[in-house]
């Protein structure tokens, strides 16, 4: 399956069109269908990246859209794509799930992600001990890992990360830098 990339920074007219659909859907839930169709796949991918169980991922995704429709009256148009609100609901749903069962949280690595992270840590030594990465990723906090996941697993720009985590873009960059430094130290400690 091809990774469907959803352009975060949509055109003003696209965002306004979404807003019109949202307003209609507030009166009739069935009018939400175009937004479901547009965002189902990226939300499912977002959720599944963090889980191991396909059925659970599908169910959580459905719950995200259910929550969105149930709370649609509270949604305010802030000039941003509707997707940012959906992702936040997804983050909340996943956090609730992981609070009940921490073991459901999954780290899904591949060659590309591993290489990118190693490269970011700027130490040739690390490239020789790629398997250590998996060990140290388990040692950082869920919050720190979430940032790494959005940046290196999903390749999101910092502006988008800021919006999803409700921090400024600058803050996202600073935090990401600090997490990388932490990973470097953990890497060195592990290598020894």
């Amino acid at each position: 399956m091809k990774q469907e990339s959803l352009t975060y920074h949509q055109s003003k007219s696209a965002i306004e069109l979404e807003h019109d659909i949202v307003e209609k859907a507030k009166k009739n839930a069935r009018d939400f269908a175009p937004l479901y169709k547009k965002y189902h796949t990226p939300i499912l991918q977002f959720v599944y990246l963090r889980l191991d169980d396909k059925d659970v991922a599908i169910d959580v995704t459905q719950q995200v859209f259910l929550k969105a429709i149930e709370n649609l009256q509270k949604y305010e148009f802030r000039g941003l794509p509707f997707s940012s609100w959906l992702y936040r609901i997804a983050i909340n749903e996943l956090n609730q799930l992981f609070r009940k069962n921490k073991k459901m949280r999954t780290i899904n690595l591949n060659e590309s992600i591993t290489s990118d992270l190693i490269h970011e840590m700027e130490d040739e030594e690390f490239a020789l001990h790629k398997e250590t990465l998996a060990i140290i990723l388990k040692k950082i906090s869920a919050t720190d890992f979430q940032l790494i996941e959005m940046r290196f697993f999903e390749k999101r720009p910092f502006s988008e990360i800021g919006e999803l985590l409700d921090i400024t873009e600058n803050n996202a960059k600073v935090k990401a830098y600090r997490v990388i430094q932490k990973l470097k130290e953990l890497f060195k400690a592990e290598a020894v």
Binding site: K37, K54, L66, K74, K102, L109, A134, K138
Partner: protein
């Protein structure tokens, strides 16, 4: 993440799996029968929430300063944080049954259509009613009113940055009214906040904000200028001035042409003498100057070109004074004696008293002159005179418009000083409290755990249930609920130090001018002013000195000054 599972190079979901998972019908069915699924999955969680909720009510009742629900009246009653300080209502008496509008001091307009008001039974009413209205535009007014500024959106807590709020009520003979849903009111709320990122909300009977719709603001200047075409005015004036200039050019050309015709044909048109120029009385030769013959008391005015002329020259006794005509029709005065000769350009003029009669004579003569010239004289004069009229008319219009524009600009600047440039438009079908706001998260950047103490006496620790925070550059009031104050041990034991002070983290943006304040549990207003906030950015557990006011705060300006807003 230590409990997290690890996968390496896991297969992604196939297109088939994604397609199969996409089922909007399933979402709708979950929506339509939520209770079955929800309670089945979540009953233990819900039961525990219910128990905790009940405990919470018994523990914390009385510490919630957000207001109370009056279940009988189905209203949310506000609690003002400072006794005796509030924003008063303005009462407007209007006639129900008829359409009309109210304009407040800030320029807010409340428009009501015909039959807009009903009694509580839903019957239309007529006669005099009172509309009670009050507005809240800045943080101080919002704070004083006790209106809650927190907003809950899909379990995310926000605080409102406000573009303006108002409360509106309708009464008749002391009885509350309602608004006819088929004849809603339109409130154009004056706002000093620019920006199109605000939304409209209403405070419900539970003290919660309900989203209405996105704000549609309009600029006051544009609205007022547009209504009388004032935005087009400068361009109109410019066009007219250009027309006037052109007309004047043509008029001058026509006048020149007419005068030339007169000169060439030696026709004299009477001119009034210029009081600032010297004129001489001379007897002219009737044969040489027949055009002057019909006119009595003709004077010869020394024109402006004669820079060498002095009045003494005219008073002198000259051997001879001659009047001549140049080829171009100009008149020349030559004065000479043995020693000197002076030549001056002159023009025949008449005094004020003689010129009126002379003009009548000229008009009578003009027809015969015109006949001799085949009608040319009259037609040239008509062109000259009609252009003169047109020029005058355009000039008058330009003057009128310029005066009008200046007056409007002055009035607009007076309005701007007291009111706002923006109007936020609400269509309301019920009375209540309405808001144009944008949800904001709490400011971040620095985090500290305060022990609040009196600046004048550090042993006087201060206790609060509610801390307010505002950034001076935005119109947002952040409310922090909890408890900061003496622990039970500290209350009972004088020796217990500040280590027994119960506190909670407060975050703020150290790069924004921030003020923090609260009403202590023993009813004193305590403030950390903006210039004292910078020390708090080091974070951690800190003694925070507050300025404590013992004076009674009974007006908003006093409060603004105390909190550093003015």
């Amino acid at each position: 993440m230590k409990d997290a599972k690890l996968n390496n190079n896991r297969e992604p979901l196939s297109d088939e799996e994604v397609k199969k998972a996409k089922d909007f019908g399933d979402v709708l069915s979950r929506l339509e029968s939520p209770k079955g699924n929800f309670f089945q999955k979540n009953w233990p969680y819900m039961a525990s929430v219910l128990v905790l909720g009940i405990i919470g009510v018994f523990m914390f009742r009385g510490s919630d300063k957000k207001g109370t629900v009056n279940s009988e009246k189905k209203t949310f009653e506000l609690i003002t944080p400072i006794n005796g300080l509030n924003i008063p209502n303005t009462e407007h008496k209007v006639l129900a049954g008829r359409e009309g509008q109210i304009v407040t001091k800030t320029g807010t307009i409340i428009k009501y259509p015909k039959n807009a008001f009903l009694d509580t039974a839903g019957n239309p009413i007529t006669g005099e009613i009172e509309i009670l209205f009050r507005e809240f535009h800045d943080v101080i007014e919002i704070f004083a009113s006790g209106i809650p500024m927190e907003y809950d959106s899909a379990s995310n807590k926000y605080h409102f940055e406000s573009a303006g709020m108002f409360e509106i009520k309708g009464m008749q003979n002391g009885m509350p009214l309602t608004i006819n849903p088929d004849a809603p009111l339109v409130v154009e709320l004056s706002s000093k906040q620019h920006g199109d990122y605000f939304n409209l909300y209403k405070l419900d009977e539970n003290g919660k904000w309900s989203y209405i719709e996105k704000d549609t603001a309009k600029g006051v200047y544009d609205q007022q200028f547009d209504s009388i075409g004032l935005t087009r005015l400068p361009q109109q004036i410019k066009t007219l001035e250009k027309n006037a200039e052109q007309t004047l050019k043509e008029q001058k050309k026509a006048a020149k042409s007419f005068n030339k015709l007169l000169k060439e044909n030696k026709i004299y048109q009477p001119l009034k003498a210029n009081n600032e120029l010297y004129s001489i009385q001379l007897e002219s030769d009737k044969n040489e100057f027949p055009e002057l013959v019909p006119f009595k008391n003709v004077l010869f005015e020394i024109t402006e070109e004669n820079v060498d002329f002095t009045p003494e020259l005219a008073k002198k006794d000259w051997d001879e004074i001659k009047l001549k005509r140049k080829r171009n029709g100009d008149y020349m005065l030559i004065m000479f004696d043995n020693l000197q000769k002076h030549t001056f350009i002159v023009r025949p003029v008449l005094s004020v008293s003689d010129v009126v009669g002379a003009n009548k004579i000229f008009e009578n003569l003009l027809s015969s002159y015109d006949d001799k010239l085949g009608g040319k004289l009259f037609s040239e004069r008509t062109v000259r005179d009609s252009l003169k009229k047109v020029y005058k008319s355009i000039s008058d219009s330009v003057n009128i418009l310029n005066n009008f524009a200046s007056r409007q600009a002055y009035e607009m600047s007076e309005i701007e000083k007291s009111t706002a440039r923006i109007k936020r438009i609400f269509t309301i079908d019920s009375f209540g409290i309405f808001n144009s706001d944008c949800p904001q998260k709490l400011p971040k950047g620095a985090l500290f755990e305060p022990v609040f103490v009196n600046r004048k006496d550090n042993s006087d620790t201060l206790s609060f249930n509610h801390i307010y925070m505002a950034e001076l550059n935005i119109n947002a009031l952040f409310s922090l609920y909890g408890y900061w104050g003496k622990s039970k041990r500290q209350k009972n034991n004088e020796e217990a130090g500040n280590a027994d002070y119960i506190t909670q983290e407060i975050s703020f943006n150290p790069y924004h001018k921030t003020v923090i304040w609260g009403i202590t549990l023993d009813n004193r207003l305590a403030v950390v002013k903006p210039n004292k906030m910078s020390v708090l950015k080091k974070g951690g557990n800190l003694d925070v000195e507050m300025f404590v006011s013992n004076i009674k705060i009974n007006d908003l300006d006093k409060l603004r000054k105390l909190l550093g807003f003015s």
